[in-house]
C-alpha cells in the first residue's frame, strides 16, 4: 500500500504544510467559537458532553481528516474517472431530497440516514467540481466549440436549479462563479464567457427588478417570500407599497424591521467587537438571543468570532483563509496536468465563494443567504466537504510529479 505522505520516486515534502497549518487553525477556531455560541445552551439542556455541538464539530473534523487520508491514497486522475458517476449520483440525491427529504425551518435540504442527516447539496458541489474539471480537461481546441460550452453550462445549471428549488439560494449560486472561473482557466474563449456574463447580468438585473419592484400580479419569478424580503432589505427597498393605509404601512415596517434584524444584529455584534473584542465566551449578542439562536453557530458564526475577538480576530480568520486560497492557487499552478489545475481552481473558487458570500452577508456586503462558512460553521456535511475539498488540493499537490 502506498502511503499518501511518501509519493514514490521522490524525496520532496508531500504534506503541504502551509495549507494544513491554516486549515488546522481554522478548525480550532471553529470548535472554540461553536462552543462559545452553543456551550451554555447545551449545558442548560443537560446534554452529555459528546452531544455538545462543539464536540460534534470536532467529530466531523476527525471523520473528515480520515476521509482526506483515504482520498489521498488514490491519484486524483483515477478518481476523476468516476466523476460522471458521482455527478449523476449527486443529482439523484438532490431529486431524492424532494421525495424523502426532511425540512428544517421551512427548507428541505437534508436526507435522513438514521443517526446522521446528510445534505446532498454539499456533496453535489464536490461531484460537480470533479465532473466539470474532467469535462474541461479535454484539449483546448475542443473548448472553442459552442456545443461544449453549452454542455459545461448545463452541467452547472442542473444542480443549480435543483438546489435553488430546495430552496437554498446561497448554495445554488456558488455553482455559477465556480463554473465560470473553471471555464476561464481552462481556456474557454473570452468572447463566449463575456457574452454569457453580459447575458446573465442582464437577466439577473431583470429578475431583481421583477422581484423587488413589480406589482404582485406581474411577478414572473417566484422566489420564496423570505428570500424576496431579504433582497428588499439588502437593496433598501421600502416594504410599504405606495398608497398603503397607515395600518398596512405599520405592518410593513414591522416586517421590514424583523427581516433586517438578523443583519442589523450581526453588524452590531461585529461592530461592537471593536479592535480586540470582548473576549472568548464573553460576547453578549448570541447569549442574549439578539443573533438568531438557530444561526449563531452556523451561518452567523463569523459574527460571534468578530464580537469576541474583534478586528484582530476577524482579520486573523481572513488571513487563514487567504493562506488556504493562495496555497490552492499555487497548487493549481504546479499541477501535473490540466485536470489537476482545473480541479484546484474549482476548489479555490468554491471555497472563496463560500467565504465571500458568508462573511459578506454578516457585514452587509451581500444579501442574507444560508451559506456555511467553510470549517467554521457547524454542520457535519459542510465540514466534511470543506475538508475533502482541501484534501483534493493536497491530493493534487501529492501527485504533482507522479504519473
Amino acid at each position: 500500500m502506498i502511503s499518501p505522505l511518501v509519493a514514490p520516486g521522490t524525496r520532496e515534502a508531500h504534506v503541504d504544510w502551509p495549507l494544513w497549518i491554516a486549515a488546522f487553525g481554522l478548525m480550532l477556531v471553529g470548535v472554540a467559537f461553536i462552543y462559545s455560541a452553543t456551550g451554555d445552551t447545551d449545558a442548560a439542556a443537560n446534554l452529555p458532553w459528546w452531544r455538545y455541538r462543539a464536540i460534534g464539530h470536532l467529530f466531523a473534523f476527525i471523520f473528515g481528516l480520515g476521509a482526506v487520508f483515504v482520498l489521498c491514497l488514490v491519484d486524483y486522475g483515477r478518481l476523476a474517472r468516476w466523476s460522471l458517476v458521482a455527478y449523476w449520483l449527486s443529482i439523484v440525491l438532490l431529486v431524492g431530497v424532494f421525495l424523502v427529504g426532511v425540512s428544517r425551518n421551512g427548507a428541505k435540504r437534508w436526507i435522513d440516514f438514521g443517526p446522521i442527516q446528510f445534505q446532498p447539496s454539499e456533496f453535489a458541489k464536490l461531484a460537480f467540481l470533479f465532473a466539470l474539471a474532467n469535462f474541461l480537461s479535454r484539449p483546448p481546441e475542443e473548448l472553442r466549440l459552442p456545443g461544449n460550452f453549452v454542455k459545461a453550462l448545463g452541467m452547472a445549471l442542473l444542480p443549480f436549479a435543483l438546489i435553488l428549488k430546495e430552496p437554498d439560494l446561497g448554495s445554488s449560486l456558488v455553482f455559477m462563479p465556480t463554473a465560470l472561473v473553471m471555464m476561464f482557466v481552462a481556456g474557454v474563449p473570452r468572447a463566449m464567457l463575456g457574452k454569457f456574463l453580459a447575458g446573465t447580468g442582464i437577466i439577473a438585473a431583470l429578475i431583481l427588478f421583477d422581484v423587488l419592484f413589480a406589482p404582485p400580479n406581474w411577478k414572473f419569478i417566484k422566489l420564496e417570500e423570505y428570500q424576496r424580503r431579504r433582497l428588499m432589505v439588502y437593496f433598501n427597498v421600502d416594504f410599504a407599497p405606495s398608497g398603503a393605509t397607515p395600518d398596512q404601512a405599520r405592518q410593513a415596517r414591522l416586517l421590514q424591521r424583523d427581516t433586517a434584524m438578523n443583519v442589523d444584529q450581526a453588524m452590531i455584534s461585529i461592530g461592537s467587537g471593536g479592535l480586540t473584542g470582548k473576549g472568548w465566551r464573553l460576547g453578549t449578542q448570541h447569549s442574549l438571543g439578539f443573533l438568531p439562536r438557530l444561526g449563531a453557530h452556523n451561518d452567523f458564526i463569523f459574527s460571534v468570532i468578530a464580537e469576541e475577538k474583534g478586528f484582530l480576530g476577524s482579520v486573523t480568520v481572513l488571513v487563514l483563509y487567504g493562506v488556504v486560497l493562495f496555497t490552492g492557487i499555487r497548487i493549481a499552478g504546479e499541477a501535473r496536468d490540466r485536470l489537476g489545475r482545473l480541479l484546484a481552481t474549482g476548489v479555490v473558487t468554491l471555497l472563496f465563494s463560500h467565504i465571500f458570500v458568508n462573511i459578506g452577508m454578516n457585514i452587509r456586503l451581500m444579501p442574507v443567504t444560508g451559506i456555511p462558512l467553510p470549517l467554521l460553521s457547524a454542520g457535519g456535511t459542510s465540514v466534511l466537504c470543506s475538508l475533502v475539498a482541501i484534501g483534493i488540493l493536497q491530493n493534487i499537490h501529492l501527485y504533482r510529479r507522479h504519473y
Partner: protein
C-alpha cells in the same frame, strides 16, 4: 513571499484568479475595518442600549434622631413578594403552543377548512402548504401572547394567594403596563407581608417558580405622630433629575414633603446608586445578571436638638388641654443658646400613614380641612396676635425710654366694675379693675389702660423699633421649610398705612400685629439671657449614615447670635421680676403655672381676633424658668382658648413640672439628660 508568488507567477488566468481572490479578501477586510474600527463606538452604543437597562437605586435615607441619639424617624424593613416574569417564560411558551393549536383549529373551521380526519388525510396535511386563512396574523399572535401571559401570571398569583390565605388582585392592564415598560424588573404582587406571612413563606418550602420574597426599606416612626410637623412627611418622588445620570428606570424613591424631611432632604437622601440589568432580546432579565455600577451612598443621619422625653411631655401637656380638640403649639427653647428642645403643634398627623400611601380621605382630613383645623406646623408657620404677651416688649421700650416704674397711673372705672381706657370718645375695655397701678402691678394684672396710656406717649417709632430689635416681623430662621415672618411693621410703615392713634393703642397691647410661637421663644430667650437674640437651632449635627465611615460629623454651631439687644440692666431686671411676680403673686395672671422649688417667670396673653371669619381668641403663655438661672423657655399658644392664664399657663406648668422633676431625678423611666 510564499503566498503572494501567485500574483506575478504562473500563467495569466491563474494570476487573474489570484488577484480577484486577493481583492475579495481585501474588500472584506476593508468593510470589517469600517465596522470594527471606524464605527465601533456607534455599534457598541447600540449593543449596550439594547442589552442593558440601567436602574436608579435610591440610597437608604438617613435617620432623624433626638439630641441623645434616640430615633425619632428610622428605617424598617418591609417584605414584599416579587414575581420574576423571566422565570415564567417556559410556562408562557407551553401555554402559547397549547392555545395556538386551539385558535388555529377554530380558524380553520371558520375558513371552511375542516380538521383533517383519518390517518391518510392527516399525513397528507403535513405536506400541504399552510394557506393564508389558517395562519395567525401578527396582531393575533400579539393578542394571544398577551392573553397567555395574563393567564400564566394570574394563575401564579392565585397560587400565591391561596398559599398565603389572601386574595391578591392583578389587573390585565397592570400586567401589560409592567410588561411593556419594565419587564426586566420583578412585578411586585404583594407590597407588604405581615410577619406571620413572612414566617410562613420562609419556613415552608416555597416552591412557586418566579416568586421571591424581597426586602425593601421604608420609613418607620417608632413614636407615631410625635413631632410630626417637625420631622415632616415623605412623598413619592418621580422627578427625573438628569444630573444624576440617565436611567431606564427609577426604583421607587421618596422626597421630603414637609418639615426636616424636606429642608434637609438633600442630606438625608444620600446619593442614589445605579445598577445595570442585562436583558435578552425579548426584553427580559437575563438570568440573575445584575451589576452595580455605582453603589448608593446612604443618607446622613440628622441629629436634632429635640429632647425626646421632653417632646413627649410637651405633647401630653398640649393634647390634654381641650379634650382632643386642641389647636395650638408649644415651643421649648434653651435660652442660653437658642436650641429648640421641643416643638409641638396640634392637630398633628401621622407620618406613618404615608409609608404605604396615604388614602385621599385621610390626606384631605389633614390638609384640606376647614382652615382652622388644618394640620400645619403652628409653632413656626402660625401667625397670631401676641396679645398681652407683647407687653413684655412694650415694657422694655417704656423702661428704656424713661418710664418711672414707681409712677402711679389710675385706671378709671368702666361698666361692670372693670377698668377702661378712653381713647378720645372710644372706650377700650380692661380686664384689670379700676385703681392705682405702678409698673409691677400693671404688668402682673396685665392692665391694658396702663400700657395703652404710656404706649401712646412712646409713639410708633420707639415701640416698633423695640420689637424689631428682637427680630419680630422677620423669619426667626429655623431651618425647617414651614416658617412665617409674622406681621410687624416699622413706625414709618404704620404711618404709611394711615394708622391712627387707635391702631397704636391696639398695637401697644399686642393686637393687629402677628408673631409666631417660635419668634416668641426667641424673644423670651433674649429676655431671659439679657438681650442675646439667637438663631434658633434645630439640627445639632449631621452624621454619616454609614456606621463604618470615619467621616467627621458636620456640627451646626450652637448659640449663633443674631443680634444683641443692649438695654440698661435695670430694664431687664424689672421685666424679669415682673414676670416672676406674674406667676408668684396671687394677683398675677399666670399663677396657674406656679411650681414649688422652680421659679417660673411668665406673661399671659389673650388676643381677640377675627379668626377664620368670626370672633375668636388666641391665648398665650410665654415664660422662662427658673428665675435665678433661666434654663428653659416655654411658649404655649392655644387657639380658641379661654384665657392665657386659664388655658395656657397650666400646660406650661406641666412642662416645667416634668423639667423640674427630671432635674431633681424624680422622673423615672425617661432617659435622663
Amino acid at each position: 513571499m510564499l503566498l503572494f508568488d501567485q500574483l506575478n507567477k504562473g500563467d495569466r488566468a491563474l494570476r487573474t484568479v489570484a488577484w480577484v481572490a486577493l481583492g475579495g479578501l481585501l474588500l472584506l477586510g476593508a468593510q470589517l475595518w469600517r465596522l470594527q474600527i471606524f464605527s465601533a463606538a456607534k455599534y457598541r452604543q447600540s449593543q449596550e442600549t439594547q442589552s442593558f437597562r440601567t436602574v436608579r437605586v435610591p440610597a437608604m435615607r438617613g435617620k432623624i434622631l433626638d439630641r441623645n441619639g434616640i430615633e425619632l424617624v428610622g428605617n424598617a424593613p418591609r417584605y414584599q413578594l416579587d414575581l420574576y416574569l423571566d422565570e415564567l417564560r417556559p410556562q408562557f411558551e407551553t401555554e402559547y403552543q397549547h392555545r395556538k393549536l386551539q385558535v388555529l383549529a377554530a380558524k380553520r373551521v371558520a375558513a371552511g377548512e375542516p380538521e383533517p380526519t383519518g390517518f391518510f388525510a392527516q399525513f397528507l396535511d403535513k405536506f400541504r402548504h399552510k394557506k393564508r386563512g389558517v395562519r395567525l396574523t401578527r396582531d393575533e399572535i400579539g393578542a394571544l401572547e398577551r392573553q397567555v401571559r395574563y393567564t400564566v401570571v394570574s394563575n401564579t398569583v392565585a397560587a400565591v394567594g391561596q398559599r398565603m390565605g389572601m386574595a391578591i388582585g392583578l389587573s390585565e392592564e397592570a400586567l401589560q403596563h409592567h410588561y411593556l415598560q419594565k419587564r426586566f424588573l420583578p412585578l411586585s404582587i404583594v407590597t407588604s407581608c405581615t410577619p406571620q406571612q413572612v414566617a410562613q413563606i420562609t419556613e415552608q418550602g416555597w416552591a412557586i417558580p418566579g416568586v421571591a420574597l424581597e426586602q425593601v426599606a421604608v420609613r418607620s416612626y417608632p413614636h407615631g405622630p410625635l413631632a410630626a410637623h417637625l420631622v415632616g412627611n415623605l412623598k413619592r418622588n418621580d422627578i427625573y433629575d438628569e444630573d444624576e445620570g440617565v436611567f431606564d428606570y427609577r426604583l421607587p424613591d421618596y422626597v421630603g414633603g414637609t418639615g426636616l424631611e424636606k429642608s434637609f432632604d438633600h442630606e438625608l437622601r444620600g446619593v442614589a446608586g445605579a445598577k445595570s440589568i442585562l436583558v435578552n432580546s425579548a426584553g427580559y432579565r437575563h438570568r440573575q445578571a445584575e451589576e452595580i455600577i455605582t453603589p448608593a451612598e446612604p443618607g446622613q443621619n440628622l441629629v436634632t436638638t429635640i429632647d425626646l422625653a421632653l417632646q413627649v411631655a410637651v405633647e401630653q401637656a398640649l393634647n390634654g388641654v381641650k379634650a382632643g380638640d386642641e389647636r395650638g403649639a408649644v415651643v421649648v427653647m434653651n435660652p442660653a443658646n437658642g436650641d429648640v428642645l421641643a416643638m409641638a403643634s396640634a392637630p398633628a398627623f401621622d407620618p406613618s400613614e404615608y409609608v404605604n400611601g396615604i388614602s385621599t380621605e385621610r390626606y384631605n382630613s389633614y390638609f384640606l380641612a376647614a382652615p382652622e383645623r388644618r394640620s400645619v406646623n403652628r409653632a413656626s408657620i402660625g401667625e397670631y396676635s401676641p396679645g398681652s404677651t407683647f407687653k413684655i416688649i412694650n415694657a422694655l421700650a417704656l423702661l428704656e425710654n424713661g418710664l418711672n416704674p414707681a409712677e402711679i397711673y389710675t385706671v378709671e372705672a368702666g361698666p361692670g366694675g372693670k377698668g377702661r381706657y378712653m381713647l378720645g370718645r372710644r372706650p377700650i375695655g380692661d380686664t384689670a379693675p379700676p385703681g392705682d397701678y405702678d409698673f409691677r402691678r400693671a404688668f402682673i394684672r396685665s392692665s391694658n389702660s396702663y400700657f395703652i396710656n404710656y404706649g401712646l406717649k412712646l409713639g410708633w417709632d420707639r415701640l416698633m423699633a423695640m420689637g424689631h430689635r428682637f427680630g419680630l416681623g422677620e423669619h426667626a430662621g429655623i431651618r425647617i421649610g414651614e416658617e412665617a415672618p409674622g406681621f410687624f411693621p416699622t413706625g414709618d410703615e404704620a404711618r404709611e398705612r394711615g394708622w391712627s392713634q387707635g391702631n397704636l393703642a391696639n398695637v401697644s397691647i399686642g393686637q393687629e400685629i402677628t408673631v409666631t410661637p417660635l419668634q416668641m421663644a426667641v424673644v423670651l430667650s433674649a429676655v431671659a439671657n439679657g438681650g442675646k437674640v439667637y438663631w434658633p437651632r434645630i439640627v445639632d449635627r449631621l452624621e454619616s449614615g454609614d456606621v463604618l465611615s470615619n467621616d467627621k460629623p458636620v456640627v451646626v454651631k450652637p448659640g449663633q447670635l443674631r443680634s444683641q439687644v443692649n438695654l440698661q440692666p435695670r430694664s431687664w431686671e424689672l421685666v424679669r421680676a415682673a414676670m416672676r411676680d406674674d406667676v408668684a403673686d396671687d394677683e398675677g395672671s399666670g399663677k396657674a403655672s406656679r411650681l414649688k422649688n422652680f421659679a417660673v417667670c411668665g406673661k399671659t396673653g389673650t388676643a381677640e381676633i377675627k379668626g377664620y371669619g368670626r370672633k375668636d381668641k388666641v391665648t398665650w403663655f410665654t415664660s422662662f424658668a427658673p428665675y435665678e438661672a433661666p434654663r428653659y423657655v416655654v411658649i404655649v399658644m392655644v387657639e380658641s382658648g379661654g384665657s392665657g392664664g386659664g388655658t395656657c399657663a397650666p400646660v406650661a406648668k406641666k412642662v416645667y413640672e416634668f423639667l423640674r422633676d427630671r432635674e431633681q431625678g424624680l422622673t423615672k423611666g425617661v432617659a435622663a439628660r
